[in-house]
Symmetry: C2
């Protein structure tokens, strides 16, 4: 009862597979001594069923019954108002009240963004929150933002994303002086839209470690720790990158492969799966709201949910929202 | 002297490597009986040097001396006006006058687009030309357009791109009823920008075989023959896809590979190189101008130049500009 460990709230109903996949994923690696507790939000009967097959004796996990749920197709703003007893709205409200320190959901991205904005609110000094995602590169990983919160972005917003991304890379990725790039259609300073050109100038004068424009073909080679772009371009870029593993898998079935090539695809796909599967990464995160808000893939496996919980814990551990709030550049 | 075979004009000075790479590339596969002739535009001394090592006896190839050249960084419109004796301007002028039927250059994309627009002009009924490029998929290839001519596009322009792409896929790729998709951040009809939503409605009513929005992760799986998008998004998407081979190459050098994985990368990279290298594809093409205008990669190898000449020949053979001009939907 005096357990003061921070609580991570998990929407047990989110994603394509619900509690049977989310619950074991969330509990992955949890021990009696874990530095955080878990609270599973959702239909109590289905959560208990999912917990039934697991040994949870003595683990710091609790269930928060919710009688409503938000469908994937629902209008986010209406759902936030109309479904106070859905896992996302209850968990976010509990975060606002300090009962939990993070919310993880594989449910509707729109509902997560809306609930975070409406219930938690923006951090001081943040014009627009961004959805950010880690992307594996040849050398490590980078943070790409925005990947979908804002279809169009102003120069101020893009510069703000660069600041938030730099702080994330320093605190969470452990990069002392993160290199920041702007995704663009050419390397030269005057390439791209008017917004690109002005953002380039502003980033050069920002005091950040801005290394210039980055074209899509250099994105995965590891030159940058943080790459900023608008949410439309970022979302399409992210999905093209995520599609590579599936593309390689489909290629391995092609009838025109030689026997040697066919045999070689197995180990290469294994390496890609081990290092570059979206499951290894923590899902997307909303940066710039007053709290921790992690959006796992809708088709998340248990492994992907485990990664999302780990991402939430990293942000709590490093007090990312607190540091984002006090950063002015 | 009475040779009536169509002439393909090649800018011998274009690209990072100039005549030493462009000339042998252009001559690849050329025989005395080839259905087209080649004209090499540029510095006659350097072209003769490049021809020196090749056996061109009896081949249908000629040299058109040009004393000027357009630099990659030059303002395209100024270059077109100020350098009438550059390979791109002379060749395009010769196309306008009917002396040649296509221009291939690995020089400045901007100069090629500007020269095509100013000298050849748009086809009747075409609002904006698009830069299109073939992209290899698991099942074959698709045509992506626009990949850079128009940073922003109107609904009319995107619908026009879908019509031009459909004709290309039918005539050149040999697909009876080409499937058209719109690149977007989600599959549902109302996803994306206002322009995406309206384009979706217009394409549904267009009589084309519109299969809906396509997300980046499905792009390479082969569901579409034609994918339309604005030139900004398309350019970034194209480069991310092109960067994939380089990414795989860099991965093959990673120290954390097992011996088995390291050995397996060789054959897989060989397969990718054989099937998915940009060198195999014909470079980009400008669709919607009154002629054939093929833009090869600036860092083109001889193999890439050979592919670009082949692309030019395909468009001449099928009279693509003539068919695009008479298509009204």
């Amino acid at each position: 009862m005096d357990d003061t460990r921070p609580v991570i709230a998990v929407d047990a109903m989110g994603g394509d597979h619900g509690p049977q996949v989310v619950v074991p994923g969330a509990l992955t690696g949890l021990t009696a001594e874990s530095p955080y507790r878990l609270a599973l939000y959702g239909d109590p009967q289905r959560i208990e069923e999912a917990l039934g097959g697991l040994n949870v004796e003595g683990l710091p996990v609790s269930v928060v019954p919710c009688l409503q749920d938000i469908d994937m197709g629902e209008s986010p703003a209406a759902a936030i108002r109309g479904k106070p007893d859905s896992p996302i709205v209850r968990a976010m409200t509990d975060q606002k009240q300090g009962k939990v320190r993070a919310v993880v959901s594989a449910g509707s991205t729109g509902a997560m963004v809306a609930a975070s904005l409406i219930i938690l609110g923006r951090l001081p000094g943040v014009d627009r929150p961004a959805i950010a995602t880690r992307i594996p590169t040849v050398k490590g990983e980078l943070l790409l933002l925005d990947v979908g919160a804002n279809t169009q972005c102003t120069v101020d917003q893009l510069v703000g994303f660069a600041r938030m991304g730099t702080l994330f890379a320093r605190e969470i990725l452990g990069v002392a002086v993160p290199a920041v790039g702007q995704l663009n259609i050419g390397g030269e300073p005057r390439k791209g839209t008017e917004i690109n050109v002005e953002t380039y100038e502003r980033l050069e004068a920002s005091g950040l470690n801005f290394i210039g424009n980055v074209e899509g073909n250099r994105l995965l080679l590891g030159a940058c720790d943080v790459v900023v772009t608008d949410g439309y371009t970022g979302n399409i870029t992210l999905k093209v990158v995520e599609g590579f593993a599936r593309f390689m898998g489909a290629l391995s079935q092609r009838p025109d492969l030689t026997d040697q090539e066919r045999a070689a695809f197995g180990p290469v796909l294994g390496f890609l799966q081990r290092n570059f599967s979206y499951e290894v990464y923590g899902g997307a995160m909303l940066l710039g709201v007053s709290g921790v808000s992690i959006i796992a893939h809708g088709r998340s496996s248990s492994r992907a949910i485990a990664s999302a919980v780990r991402e939430a814990w990293q942000q709590i551990l490093h007090d990312l929202p607190g540091k984002l709030a006090t950063t002015d550049g």
